[in-house]
């Protein structure tokens, strides 16, 4: 494969290549889709022990209130996200969405309260637009800075705590969605107990020039295996987590995407700070009435994976399409194909039988609760 030469590199690109990463273009970056062990082993190892991921392509952004009062930055950001940012305590993060005037979703992100500023992590493919969006709407109240000199490393899996604790014992006491300053190998790191696999684990922001040393230290631990984007995708799919641009996008609303949980009560109709974000009328009304279509889990009956783009039908033959698969593949931990897609609300109940068309043949699929695996976050 020849890579376009304008692909961007992360602080760990050379490290990934040196460890046998099969590099592909992804969101403008040269990223490893897999390592020599392959997607299946990487996936299973992450669920059994610990996986190490380079996610430095993601955008890291600081919102600093010009007034010096964090609540000003929180309230300003609430104009763009339907999320309770003001209520986010120091050292905590939560999932959020940038919404559009028509109720669609511009991106999903993590929002952390870092005492005197907010720290955002956004998708690589959207980061330029997100930062422009922030500057346009929040530029008066906030200094907006993209941290381009930092790497982001995810350490995920049941052994992640034990592995990271060897460098910083205090991380064992962190809870899910907690964010802390931690010194790792003598360098200041921002550690969040969170991830995108359904497993316990951490996402670690470190200065770019310290990334390789830290990654090598993790990898020297026999419990850790390098994991590429292929297994990252199957891990998050089994965990029922949305991939922006696939499972949610500008054409889907939060209720359609089944991520209403990301909109706290205080921002909903009747809440103290109801609405006030783009598309609020549409998005909040849909929370009350229910969306006409919803994102659901899909379990194919056979062994054939049902992939993104497969069209869903209500009947085995004939009829109009009723929906579409937005993510799908083989779930190594489920040991069966798994998928997600959109169906009419009337067909969204668990165990409803539908048919997915693959190569001209209709395969039975069943609506399934999400996630497909048991999430193992450290909530307490």
């Amino acid at each position: 494969m020849t890579l376009p030469d304008d692909l961007r590199q992360t602080p760990l690109t050379a490290f990934n290549i040196a460890h046998g990463g099969k590099m592909v273009p992804f969101a403008g970056y040269e990223m490893p889709v897999q390592f020599p062990d392959g997607v299946l082993k990487e996936h299973l190892h992450c669920r059994a022990a610990a996986g190490l991921f380079d996610v430095s392509h993601m955008g890291q952004v600081i919102l600093r209130p010009k007034s010096g009062r964090l609540e000003d930055a929180a309230l300003a950001l609430e104009r763009l996200v339907p999320v309770d940012v003001l209520g986010l305590k120091p050292g905590r993060q939560r999932y959020g969405l940038f919404t559009a005037q028509d109720g669609g979703i511009l991106d999903d992100l993590m929002i952390a309260n870092r005492d005197d500023h907010l720290f955002l992590v956004v998708n690589a493919a959207c980061k330029a637009e997100d930062i422009a969006h922030l500057r346009t709407h929040l530029g008066d109240e906030c200094d907006i800075e993209e941290l381009t000199d930092r790497a982001l490393i995810a350490l995920q899996g049941p052994q992640a705590e034990a592995v990271l604790s060897t460098l910083a014992p205090e991380v064992a006491d962190m809870r899910f969605m907690e964010v802390a300053d931690v010194v790792l190998l003598g360098s200041p790191a921002i550690v969040a107990r969170a991830g995108y696999t359904g497993e316990d684990g951490y996402e670690i922001s470190v200065p770019a020039d310290r990334a390789v040393a830290l990654a090598e230290a993790f990898l020297a631990d026999t419990r850790v295996l390098l994991v590429g984007l292929g297994a990252r995708d199957s891990l998050r799919l089994e965990s029922g987590l949305c991939l922006y641009g696939h499972d949610i996008d500008t054409a889907t609303t939060p209720a359609q995407g089944a991520i209403e949980w990301a909109i706290q009560k205080v921002r909903r109709s009747g809440g103290a700070r109801a609405g006030g974000f783009p598309g609020a009328d549409i998005i909040l009304a849909e929370l009350e009435t229910g969306a006409p279509r919803r994102r659901v889990g899909l379990r194919p009956e056979g062994r054939a994976p049902i992939r993104e783009g497969a069209v869903l039908f209500a009947d085995e033959a004939g009829g109009e399409p009723v929906g579409r698969v937005t993510s799908g593949g083989f779930g190594p931990s489920v040991n069966a194909p798994v998928a997600m897609g959109y169906v009419p609300a009337s067909l969204s109940a668990a165990d409803t039988a539908l048919f997915a068309e693959v190569r001209g043949k209709r395969h039975p699929v069943f609506i399934s609760p999400l996630p497909f695996i048991t999430q193992r976050y450290k909530r307490s």
């Binding site: 889709v33 897999q34 392959g38 997607v39 299946l40 082993k41 996936h43 292929g230 297994a231 199957s234 062994r303 054939a304 994976p305 992939r307 593949g329 083989f330 190594p332 194909p337 190569r359």
Partner: protein
Amino acid sequence: MLKFTADHEWLSIEGDVATVGITQHAAEQLGDLVFVDLPDVGAVLEEGGAASTVESVKAASDVYCPLAGEIVAVNEEILADPSLINRAPQGEGWFFKLRLANPDDATALMDEAAYLALVG
């Protein structure tokens, strides 16, 4: 007689029957296989026609019929355990047996050295 195609299939030919599978190189490139779809015994396929589909953890790929003929057997074991293809692509992981319509056509296919040079 062992022959290869540029589409990464191998054929082991005895008389007018070819045992067909995918090459070691193809299996490595595809990654871990999780599903395989085989043609029906008795199906008559054209050269280059879609004979089978393999799905890896990454993507679906078609396997083409390397020469015209009739399917006389399929490997049920790879249906039950597609990882057999990864473990022994040029042995136990064979796909199907094809009774060649024109056995002489096989002489035009690549030998192993030519195939290895192609993928080298």
